[in-house]
């Protein structure tokens, strides 16, 4: 029975998406809020992540876009006086914050009860020493680990345990500050760093090569327990589970193994006293039944989100209900709706999770995978064979791979080493090694991956080789083709295997040829349901996937043309994450409300759009042309929405159009006119709209000629790559030549686009919706930073506070012209450069952009709802309100995850590097900025600031803020040039020496190590990225020692002004609805 005394409950969100804490907490929080709402409980949410679904209207009753820190949460509690608080739905951020509030006695003082797992149980699992003690009490083995508080103690412990050892920081997110140490020297470096994150570190014996197995366990207050799912890591222990390929259920465990660990999980959860959900991770000896418990997460986690999607069991929803006091037996299985929630799902398929890395975006980053997490997203694929699931998954990752085979040749100098020291390319190295004749035993020896997985992968190679022996698509026989499809080969892979290089002549055409051949042979995928009970009971589930390992569809199609298919955004990656999930979910909701059947295709387990409650039919499947066509042929939809899921769906526009698939909204030919650089430029010229000068060039000489015309700096990028992979700004001949030699090929076949780079210009964004070329609603926002910082990394202010009225007028006019010229019907975004009232267009996307949720929520006008109505042909009214009527300001700030990315240079440039963002509100720029900066982990410094600013102009800009800091009583440290500049202008500072300098001045790095500095402002001199320079070392030290760092002059000055003008206490605690 639920507790009737609860009237108001506070839920803590997880803030900005970061490595180790991503979209999964939007999903779990949204589910929990839904569970509370059903009970008629008033909900209050604190989460500054404005792009999430949980911070949408109607999900929680009150939403605070404020930092999830003890200070702010206490102030919200003081204002709202909730009866209960939920700590386990917002990742480690919420959990740590909750524990801090509990320890400080805040929760007790306000009579706020922690629902679900008691705080003591959380602390028992978070503090390693306590944890080991608790498990010792019931004779459960843990990894022998010693908690130490000094470096010397760490060395002693390691010597006792014997190298190799692993160290980890206590209370850290997803393995932050952890790593393997083979010897004393490695230990010293890593321990020092770990201590900067936590006062306590743990030294453990390494169990490299053991299997890593996880269980998701649920317990109610009556002590009833279930394990919802188990999962097995493809990669053995040693690689963080967030970095591992994971399958569910486990594949290489016998019944004895499986149930031994299951029984232990239940024993543990009972002893610790979890009420709700937890995750137990094991190391399991591949040659005996020996085990160790690695850790227990007493909260919803990335794994629990994955388990929910893998099984159809809504863990977060159930956990929230259990927190309210329900017993499992009182709740229903939400898939069958008849059977009890007290059961363990039986799967009749296999799922495969694969991480998505974006390491290529970072300068200097260490690509070797280990015990700390670096991936930025993940995918989940579903199949009825392992081969099918893994090949689907490798395509879903979206980095140009077609599966396990038939990819672009990988260049690997030392295969042995690449197998032994895994990087983000590991699985493809295995493919290559197999092709080179490595045996299963050899690969197993080097990787310690269980041979079962390797045998299965070998089977894929065997089929590929059989296909490769053919010479023409006409030779394909049905049995071989069927086997290939059952092993997850795409039509493209089959065609490439048969045709080899001939494929390049017409990749799309040959793919379609294979499609025609197999359809003629009756080889088509079937649709299966995920029903939690392996077909034992009828299920009214709309949760579907496609497979070639079956002969019958689970559902009947109506053929009524009432479906509207919305394509989702795929794996979270740098440049595309939760914001597109919000867009997709809102599009689905609008489709549903308008009386159409809402159909979603997406494969990201971290999302809300893949919650089967959000639509009428969910295909948890690929967003490839082939798979989308399969689904279109089954659904025979009224139309397909491509413009709310970011770039992945947009890229399919032309091909779907060629197959006569009805695309809703802006027509594909116009999308092509915007995406194709040449067509777009020609169009802009015809409209008289200015663009930065650019040219597509095929030789170095041509590039030099062009640079002579426009002058440095220039932006250099390969053509047809959006969102800037391999982009670079070159400021002089040396850099240009260097870049072209190292990072890009210049040839007839691979032209390079060189663009004039306008310096010190403002960047302005226009997000809008048009109907038949007429703008219906728009939002203009401005970047705090000057152009040159990727719009995904920039701090964005809306409504703009510093734009000339003239500039705004010109932008509106130009956007109107473009909308008309491109016949836009739906969402779009245009980026402008503005300098002295001149505006230039830099980019135009005929789809929803990253900032749609931000401007929609600040303006309180749902742009996606309006856009979807337009696409469905429903009437929309021009809204009465205007952004310039708002009495408040919204600021979107970026979250960086450099601390996870060892060695990466934490600078901003034309390539996006942030992993998430927040959006906060305030009465003015300063309040909104403070809120958002504090939300992304910046802190207001207390005593000392290190200044080191680049160019003369930047130094000049920093002058006034430096004076403010001085007057505020901050101690300033500065590197030579900056010190002199400050001195010349009468601002006292202490000169420090850079790493490469000699002399008696205090060492900057030393000061950072000793934490004598609590904020670093380091502005790189030029836009070029350099490793190993003094600046790099200072920036990296700030990151490694967890000291707030700002690298942009404009942002630094605005932030400094903000915290000099107002303190944390001056920030008003206002919920979203109180901003009117």
């Amino acid at each position: 029975m639920q507790d009737n005394k609860l009237r108001k409950v506070l839920l803590l969100g997880s803030g900005a998406l970061k490595i180790g804490e991503a979209g999964e907490f939007d999903y779990s929080g949204s589910q929990a809020l839904k569970a509370l709402k059903e009970e008629g409980i008033e909900t209050v949410l604190i989460n500054p992540n404005i792009a999430t679904v949980q911070t949408s209207e109607g999900v929680a009753d009150k939403i605070y876009f404020l930092p999830v820190t003890p200070y702010f949460v206490e102030r919200v509690i003081d204002k709202e006086r909730p009866d209960g608080i939920l700590l386990s739905f917002g990742g480690q951020t919420a959990l740590n914050c909750g524990v801090a509030l509990y320890k400080a006695g805040v929760l007790e003082r306000y009579g706020t009860r922690v629902l679900g797992t008691p705080v003591q149980a959380i602390m028992d699992t978070e503090d390693r020493e306590l944890f080991v003690e608790r498990l010792d009490e019931i004779g459960v083995k843990t990894i022998k680990s010693e908690a130490v508080e000094t470096i010397d103690a760490a060395v002693e412990a390691a010597e006792r345990l014997g190298y190799p050892v692993i160290i980890r920081a206590a209370y850290a997110l997803g393995g932050l500050g952890s790593g393997f140490c083979d010897d004393r020297e490695e230990l010293l470096t890593k321990a020092e760093k770990a201590f900067s994150f936590s006062p306590q570190i743990l030294v453990e014996k390494s169990l490299k090569g053991w299997k890593e197995i996880e269980y998701e366990v649920v317990r109610d207050r009556y002590d009833n327990c279930i394990t919802v799912c188990n999962m097995e890591n493809f990669d053995p222990l040693g690689i963080h589970t967030g970095e591992s390929i994971v399958v569910a259920p486990s594949q290489t465990l016998s019944n004895t193994d499986y149930h031994k660990l299951r029984e232990l999980s239940i024993k543990i959860i009972r002893h610790i006293g979890i009420v709700g959900e937890c995750n137990v991770q094991y190391a399991y000896d591949p040659a005996s039944e020996d085990y160790r418990v690695i850790e227990v997460n007493a909260r919803l986690s990335r794994s629990s989100a994955l388990a929910s999607k893998a099984t159809g069991y809504p863990l977060a929803f159930i956990a929230a209900k259990l927190g309210l006091g329900y017993g499992l037996y009182e709740l229903r299985n939400s898939v069958t709706r008849d059977t009890s929630a007290f059961f363990e799902p039986a799967l009749d398929y296999i799922v495969c999770k694969i991480p998505r890395w974006d390491l290529g975006k970072f300068q200097g980053v260490d690509r070797v995978l280990g015990s700390s997490m670096k991936s930025v997203g993940e995918v989940m694929s579903i199949g009825r064979t392992f081969e099918e699931a893994i090949q689907k998954g490798l395509r879903m990752i979206g980095q140009g791979m077609h599966g396990f085979v038939e990819n672009k040749e990988l260049v690997i100098a030392d295969i042995d080493r690449a197998l032994r020291e895994p990087t983000d390319k590991r699985i493809f190295v295995i493919s290559k090694a197999m092709r080179r004749g490595y045996t299963i035993d050899q690969i197993h020896e080097l990787t310690k991956i269980d041979k079962w997985f390797l045998y299965k992968l070998r089977g894929i190679i065997d089929t590929a080789e059989e296909l490769e022996r053919l010479d023409s698509l006409d030779d394909l026989d049905a049995d071989l083709l069927r086997r290939a499809k059952r092993q997850g080969f795409s039509d493209f892979q089959v065609a490439r295997a048969v045709l080899k290089e001939r494929m390049n002549a017409d990749t799309e055409g040959y793919g379609l040829a294979v499609r025609a051949i197999r359809k003629a042979a009756g080889i088509v995928p079937v649709v299966k349901q995920i029903d939690t009970l392996a077909a034992e009971y009828p299920a009214r589930t709309n949760y579907l996937y496609l497979t070639y390992n079956g002969t019958e569809h689970d559902i009947d199609y109506e053929g009524d043309h009432r479906s509207v298919i919305v394509l989702g955004s795929g794996a979270y990656r740098i440049g595309s994450s939760v914001e597109f999930d919000w867009c997709s979910v809102n599009a689905l909701g609008t489709v549903r409300q308008a009386g159409w059947r809402s159909v979603m295709i997406n494969y990201n387990p971290e999302t809300v759009s893949t919650d089967y409650d959000m639509c009428d039919r969910l295909y948890f499947d690929e967003l490839t042309f082939e798979r989308v066509m399969d689904i279109v042929e089954l659904e025979t939809p009224h139309g397909v929405v491509l413009s709310t899921g970011g770039q992945i769906p947009q890229n399919l526009a032309t091909r779907l159009d060629e197959q006569h698939v009805p695309v809703l909204g802006t027509q594909p030919e116009w999308v092509d006119n915007a995406e194709d650089r040449h067509k777009f430029s020609a169009l802009m010229d015809s409209l008289g709209v200015d663009q930065p000068r650019w040219r597509e060039l095929t030789s170095i000489d041509d590039i030099h000629d062009f640079v002579a015309e426009v002058g440095y700096p220039v932006l250099v990028r390969p053509s047809y790559v959006l969102s800037g992979a391999a982009m670079n700004v070159c400021s002089n001949d040396a850099e240009l030549v260097d870049f072209l030699r190292l990072a890009a090929e210049v040839s007839q076949k691979h032209p390079v686009v060189v663009t004039e780079f306008v310096q010190n210009a403002q960047e302005v964004e226009m997000d809008a919706v048009a109907r038949d070329g007429e703008i219906v609603v728009y939002a203009i926002s401005e970047h705090i930073e000057f152009a040159g910082v990727h719009s995904g990394d920039a701090t964005i202010q809306f409504p703009p506070q510093k734009l000339y009225v003239e500039t705004v007028r010109r932008i509106k006019k130009t956007a109107g012209q473009i909308a008309r010229a491109l016949h836009i019907s739906g969402p779009f975004n245009i980026q402008f450069l503005a300098k002295d009232n001149d505006i230039k267009v830099i980019e135009c996307n005929l789809r929803a952009s990253r900032s749609f949720p931000f401007v929609s929520k600040v303006l309180k006008l749902n742009f996606i709802e309006i856009a979807t109505k337009v696409m469905l042909g429903l009437p929309v009214e021009r809204p009465a309100k205007n952004e310039f009527d708002l009495d408040y300001v919204g600021i979107k700030a970026s979250q960086f995850s450099f601390s996870r990315l060892q060695k990466a240079d934490p600078v901003l440039g034309v390539d996006m590097v942030s992993t998430g963002e927040v959006g906060c509100l305030g009465e003015d720029t300063y309040e909104a900025l403070l809120n958002s900066m504090l939300s992304v982990g910046q802190r207001i410094p207390e005593h000392s600031i290190l200044l080191s600013s680049g160019t003369a102009r930047q130094k000049a800009d920093m002058l006034e803020p430096a004076m403010m800091l001085h007057r505020k009583g901050y101690k300033l440290y500065a590197t030579a040039g900056t010190h002199k500049f400050l001195e010349d202008n009468g601002i006292p500072s202490t000169r420090v020496r850079k790493p490469s300098e000699e002399g008696e001045f205090p060492d900057a790095l030393q000061l950072i190590h000793e934490r004598q500095i609590d904020m670093v402002v380091n502005i790189p001199r030029t836009l070029e990225k350099r490793e190993l320079s003094d600046g790099y070392k200072i920036r990296r030290a700030a990151i490694d020692f967890n000291i707030p760092l700002i690298t942009n002059a404009r942002l630094a000055t605005t932030f400094i002004r903000a915290f000099c003008k107002m303190s944390q206490d001056d920030i008003s605690i206002k919920s979203w609805d109180e901003y009117k």
Binding site: T252, F342, F343, L533, A534
Partner: protein
Amino acid sequence: MQTTRKAKIVLEDGTVLEGESFGSERSVAGEVVFNTAMTGYPESLTDPSYAGQVLVSTYPLVGNYGVPQRGTDGRGLSLNYESEKIHVEALVVADYSRDYSHWKADRSLADWLEDEGVPAVTGIDTRALTKVLREHGSMKGKVIIEGCDEPAWVDPNADNLVARVSCREVIEYAGGSKVVVLVDCGVKHNIIRCLLRRGVTVVRVPWDYDFNTLRWDGLFISNGPGDPSLCGVAVENIRRALDAGKPVCGICMGNQLLSQAAGATTYKLKYGHRGHNQPVRRVGTDRCYITSQNHGFAVDDTRLGNDWAPLFTNMNDGTNEGIRHKVKPFFSAQFHPEAASGPTDTDFIFDEFTSLL
């Protein structure tokens, strides 16, 4: 590629699904049932309760961890299996894994099936097949291997399968001073292991043996295959044993026979319960358990005598999962507390029983 023979499964209602053979090359007939477990094929295949049945695995990937070695411990109990041999008539899966990997494996599932003369089919849409069985109920069926003679239809439930799988003579497993008579209706070895682990002496007797002539402290009635109404002799023996008032416990078939002795009747379920995820609730309490199950018949507990009451019920379909006597130490479970394969949550049943001795 190994060449394989084509194979198919044919159901009484005309359903035909085609795949490839991976076990013994001979065709068989039996009752087709499905199991939703995701692990435990060596245990399931050797569970005597599957006698006469063609087992369909809803979990598609089977054979991944090979088969552990055969052989018995000092007491004659199988080291890794639930009986001396494979009891299913045939096995049907979606994706048999020829290659296997496990430190305990000493051969592949295919080799084992072939050794024991049991046919098997892979490449079958077992989800589609399961849906047919769910909608129409368990059915007679055949597994036909290409090139092998087609057998006639067989209804195993018409035979006394218990008599087929029960031991032929009394076997004693020496333990402590307390003596438990175990009526072997097709006992899984883990039941014996679970009892022995608690320090009792187990006297395993054939299903129709009149154990009332023996000296015993407790009576345990095992699991077993087929229709419980064909075991009248055993029910009669149990009914007489109840007069002694000494502890009595039963599992699965044991629950059904004890219920009959207590006046209730049994009936055939449409498609039975076979899997590792069946939820049961202890009647009148908040306590729920995940159980391993394998049964096609159930007890109609509305017809129990006045002195008896249901002990557990199935939380999915409300069927009986165990009974108890209101005053005397008699109780039983329809599920398998000995697990093997499956969850071990209800192991306490053995504690409850032995503590009464």
